[in-house]
Symmetry: C2
Subunit: 483 residues, 2 copies
């Protein structure tokens, strides 16, 4: 009966709940095949730097797409992992929606894994059954879910309501160093009416969520200097400058213990949230007290504001501080230098360039002479304080309006398919180079399907299989209901 | 002629210049023997922890003393290096002077040495000829110089004007962990009218110097806490407390960039310098601008005060700071903890106990809950900030008045023997446990003989042989002119 309904509906719209049902029906009859195909894909090692294996991943995914009738090409730049690019036109459709995911994974430390990272195994039962393997969640799961969704549609003789494009990247975990170049080199292929970025986890409560932006990021290494050689602290302490103290004081001029950035003008470009964004934020449950317990925190930064609010602000995070030695390695010396590593998170309208300019102006105003290469002795002697600043490249924040028709449409499809509204995040706290996808003002919506407790980037990464099943339903609903 | 004069003088006083001359005369005729005997001693490895070899050193030195007619005993505590203890009574002398040195040396990294550390070699010529070996300077040189001085006296048929005691320690470089216990166990043997501590280098200008005190020391390891597990800085930054920032701010409440300690009451016990000490200080040449150039310093701490002045103040030195990772190891995370290591240098009237109490009161006032063991999650959750403080044992400063007859006497003997006043340091900047020797108010004067550029504690330690010759003259003059 369902099958019949589906094939009739293929010619017109299939409402999201029906699409979901089609997918579920298909899935329950093909669970073994889906899991088996997925485990084959997970068996191919997928470090971006491991070119032979990364090519095998690309070929495997290309073949999987071709089996579903998509037109596939591997877009190439010299010597780097290819973009797997596939199109699946829909008759009479005027709209093209591109779905992005990545097939490379984080480096692994096999010693930390309970089972080898590229030998997928299933553990647990029922709703908690999980597949353990590198990239089981991040980010091969959405690829598998999309492909199974195409199978589900075909089984119901239904077709997508829009022209589909699939773009699967092979070096996201290496920082997407060539994604910009790919956009430059293949503008036609990478043009779409909207992007869905299928990466990241669903909400901790297991509710679906969409994100409409991401913070930008830029990194800074700061090194300050003491004496040219390490000195005995008894014979020279109080006189030879202590580089560690020079650096703690510099850091404290930049950021307070509440996370507030003290650099003049740093917040000037920060756009306030729109009304829609504020409302969306208010609808997201506050899990802060659970998190505080889980993390054993006696306090939080941000003067009592919620986590959801705070990650929409710029941030200055101290990633590391190193000078001299502590514990058993400590000796009574004055060190030659001290180093700190910072990541800045940026919000819309802030750019790495502007941040760099303001930070350098601030540091210079603290009586530091700024260099960008290791200073020689003459330079160190010539200035009260010398700091070496080494900036990472970084990229800006991105934000798609939650008011756009496509934004509302994606939210509505998920809402109707699941019977419950997804949480709408104005932005991720983390950074993904969404700005590249947004070129020319293309809307970009983040749509994650995997469980939040997937050990992303760590050992024993896993995918809760129910999240894969749910993902198949969501993609089926999206393919048939976007326009 | 000289010899004749010396044997006559043996019965009465031998003025310092004559004693010097006797020593020089003896030395010039026995250079090879002296150096040969010294190199034999330097050939015995002398890590305090290497008990078989440290015992060989003690036996060798005991035999060397016995050959000079001293009564020798090895004072023992179970399982630790012995104190080599020798007496050489002087007929009719009422005064006893004890000379301290140590026969153990710093650990070595043979890869860093040009020649093996316990295979002494001579390099250089004339006044710059040096013996390269571990402990060539620190601190077997004074032992050799004292023994050769006894030979010089004997060759002139002269005898010391005071009862001599020699006390040579075998674990000074391990921090003298049992010296206090030795003083407790052997009070009679370790009683003297005054101590001469023969350790450390002469002034950088090669002028002789005496020191009348040493700073005390106590060490502190501070650990502050962030989340129970490392967090993604994008997803949790601005909300989860950054332990590195917590610690930089705590440190900055404790010490400024001029070396000033900001802890309430920290300077309360600091005794001002006496008039004699201030005068002595004024007589020591200021080598700060040379040092600034040598160390490539663009500034110094202490608001323009000289190094000599500043090392007479208490100090708070950051020995190390460690949290997260920097450079290539840095990742965008919020660390679980950050650690800093501090050494405090103390001046007379300050004690480790008082320092500890004031520091803990200060830290508690910054809204930190203090623990001394690693806190559990419940403790971390229960307090705004938690800090673990682990104190080293430490010991207090010591200071002998420069006005005492014995203080003046030692200075005068050196002055007359060399024809130029030695520099008088109210205190070393570094820490040696002089307070143990000072028990019961015994005067303690530090008298070093070795070159300042001896690579003390490092690879390629060396002794400028001329410093050994000068040392023999000085000890001959001291032995015959103290009373």
């Amino acid at each position: 009966m369902l099958l019949l309904a589906a094939s009739l509906l293929a010619l017109s719209a299939i409402a999201p709940p029906d699409a979901s049902r089609i997918a579920r029906n298909y899935r329950t009859r093909h669970e073994r095949e889906i899991v088996s195909e997925f485990m084959d894909l997970l068996s191919i090692p997928n470090l971006a730097s491991d070119i032979p294996n990364i090519e095998k991943n690309a070929s495997a995914i290309a073949a999987m797409l071709e089996r579903r009738g998509a037109q596939v090409r591997l877009l190439r730049l010299q010597g780097v992992p290819p973009l797997v690019y596939a199109t699946l036109p829909s008759r009479n459709a005027k709209t093209t929606i591109a779905f992005y995911a990545h097939y490379d994974g984080q480096p692994v430390d096999p010693a930390q894994w309970a089972t080898p990272p590229w030998q997928p195994v299933i553990k647990g039962e029922g709703g908690e059954a999980r597949i353990y393997a590198r990239s089981a969640s991040d980010d091969k799961a959405p690829i598998m879910a999309m492909l199974a969704a195409l199978d589900a549609l075909k089984s119901a003789n239904a077709s997508p309501a829009v022209n589909l494009k699939f773009v699967f990247e092979g070096e996201e975990e290496a920082g997407s160093p060539h994604l910009g170049a790919y956009f430059d080199r293949y503008p036609k292929e990478l043009t779409t009416d909207a992007w869905l970025l299928c990466d990241g986890p669903v909400h901790q409560s297991r509710r679906m969520q969409l994100y409409f932006g991401a913070r930008g990021v830029t990194e800074l290494e700061m090194t300050v200097y003491g004496p040219l050689r390490a000195l005995h602290s008894g014979h020279y302490g109080n006189w030879a400058p202590n580089a560690i103290v020079t650096l703690t004081h510099l850091i404290d001029t930049m950021r307070d213990t509440e996370g507030r950035i003290l650099i003049a003008g740093f917040y000037d470009d920060v756009a306030p949230l729109s009304g829609v964004e504020r409302d969306a934020l208010a609808a997201i449950p506050n899990i802060d007290s659970d998190l505080k317990r889980e993390l054993a925190l006696g306090r939080t930064e941000g003067e009592g504001k919620s986590l959801n609010e705070l990650i929409l602000q710029p941030a200055l995070n101290l990633r590391g501080f190193s000078g001299g030695h502590v514990g058993n390695q400590a000796s009574n010396t004055i060190s030659t230098e001290a180093q700190a590593s910072i990541d800045f998170r940026l919000v819309p309208a802030q750019t790495p360039e502007k941040v760099r300019e303001r930070v350098e102006r601030h540091i210079a105003a603290q009586d530091f002479f700024i260099v960008h290469d290791t200073p020689d002795a003459a330079t160190r002697m010539a200035h009260t304080n010398v700091v070496k600043l080494v900036w990472g490249s970084g990229y800006p924040a991105a934000r798609t309006s939650m008011d756009l028709p496509v934004s509302r449409r994606v939210a509505n499809v998920i809402s109707e398919a699941t019977g419950v509204s997804p949480y709408l995040l104005p932005s991720l706290g983390g950074s993904v180079p969404m700005y590249l996808f947004q070129r020319g003002g293309t809307p970009v919506v983040g749509f994650p399907i995997v469980n939040h407790d997937n050990n992303q980037h760590a050992a024993n990464e896993n995918l809760r299989i129910q999240n894969l099943w749910d993902g198949i339903e969501m993609f089926t609903a999206l393919f048939t209901n976007l326009r």
